[in-house]
């Protein structure tokens, strides 16, 4: 099953469960407080996911390592490499 298919299945399952409970005809409705929470649930979840995404990406950008020493070390290595290669006869 492709990821797209998995998502569609998941959404169809959750969607139908939500619809069955939240949009049920008067005879089969769950108690009022539950219905009140259920109706806006999809939007709540979307907003919650949006916040989670922003927070996660923000955190990851803030903690993205800056490799200062790696850059400095590379410069040293480049100097050594150039000198050695010249000795070995490479025409740079």
């Amino acid at each position: 099953m492709t990821k797209l298919a998995q998502w569609l299945c998941g959404l169809a399952l959750l969607g139908s469960a939500w619809a069955a409970l939240a949009l049920a005809p008067p005879g089969l409705q769950p108690p009022a407080p539950l219905r009140q929470a259920l109706l806006p649930l999809p939007v709540y979840l979307l907003v919650a996911f949006g916040c989670y995404s922003l927070a996660t990406v923000g955190y990851r950008v803030a903690t993205f390592n800056d490799c200062e020493e790696a850059a400095a070390e590379l410069q040293e290595h480049i100097k050594a490499a150039r000198a050695d290669l010249r000795r070995r006869g490479l025409r740079l």
Partner: protein, 237 residues
């Protein structure tokens, strides 16, 4: 000539206009492998660079010997072509512009032995991995794209667009047969297909040193093609 052991590593270096960086990368590879006693060969595949990269590759082959450095003309995909000449059991793919430092290769090998992994992937996003030379915008795009990829593909690897990896030769061959995309998306596709085929992936934090200052390697076009590729993988794998 030393016998070719089972741990021999073949480094595939596709190059394009790397006349200045190629000798440096090769020197670093030779030194790293020499210091750690790992049997190796370097296969340079140059895509007809107009700046004389081929000449430099041939000079390096003379200096270090054809047992260690092999220069081949490309025909078709550089990786597929290069693999035909590879005699090692492990293949390392990396960039030839010094953004990937050969010093991580012995760590890849150690990691591979540790978990008997089919693939070891260098990651910029975990542990003490990281980047140098990226501004805020670049970091934001990188992390944002990676987050999207994680949500949609749940790949089981933290750095999907990275191209510094070690593969078992048979694994790389299998993957090359199945992968169809190019560029960033190709690197992503390799990991996704690897997971589908049940291959195991280990990770090693690496530092990515971007020396191409001021040159915008991440334009609107690249972002669009990345998104197209991501959605294609989402819908087809």
């Amino acid at each position: 000539m030393a016998p070719r052991g089972p741990g021999r590593v073949s480094v595939l270096l596709p190059t394009y206009n790397e006349r200045d960086n190629l000798p440096l990368v090769v020197w670093l590879l030779v030194r790293t492998f020499g210091d750690s006693g790992i049997d190796f060969e370097i296969i340079i595949i140059d895509d007809g660079s107009p700046d004389g990269t081929q000449e430099v590759a041939q000079q390096l082959e003379k200096i270090y010997g054809s047992d260690k450095i092999l220069f081949v003309f490309p025909s078709g995909t550089a990786y597929i072509h290069g693999m035909k000449y590879a005699t090692g059991n492990f293949i390392v793919i990396m960039d030839a512009d010094l953004s990937h430092h050969p010093k991580f290769i012995p760590e890849f090998i150690r990691k591979q032995k540790e978990g008997n992994f089919d693939i070891v992937s260098g990651t910029r996003y975990k542990g003490n991995g990281g980047v140098y030379g990226w501004d805020l915008k670049r970091k934001l795009i990188s992390r944002g794209a990676n987050f999207l990829t994680q949500v949609l593909l749940r790949p089981g690897a933290s750095d999907l667009t990275g191209s510094f990896r070690l593969y078992r030769k048979e694994v790389l061959q299998k993957l090359m047969e199945k992968c169809v995309s190019k560029g960033y998306v190709f690197q992503m596709e390799m990991v996704v297909r690897a997971r589908q085929l049940g291959f195991t992936i280990g990770e090693v934090p690496i530092s990515f040193v971007d020396r191409v200052y001021g040159e915008s390697k991440l334009g609107g076009n690249e972002i669009v093609s990345f998104l197209k590729g991501l959605l294609t993988l989402f819908a087809t794998t």
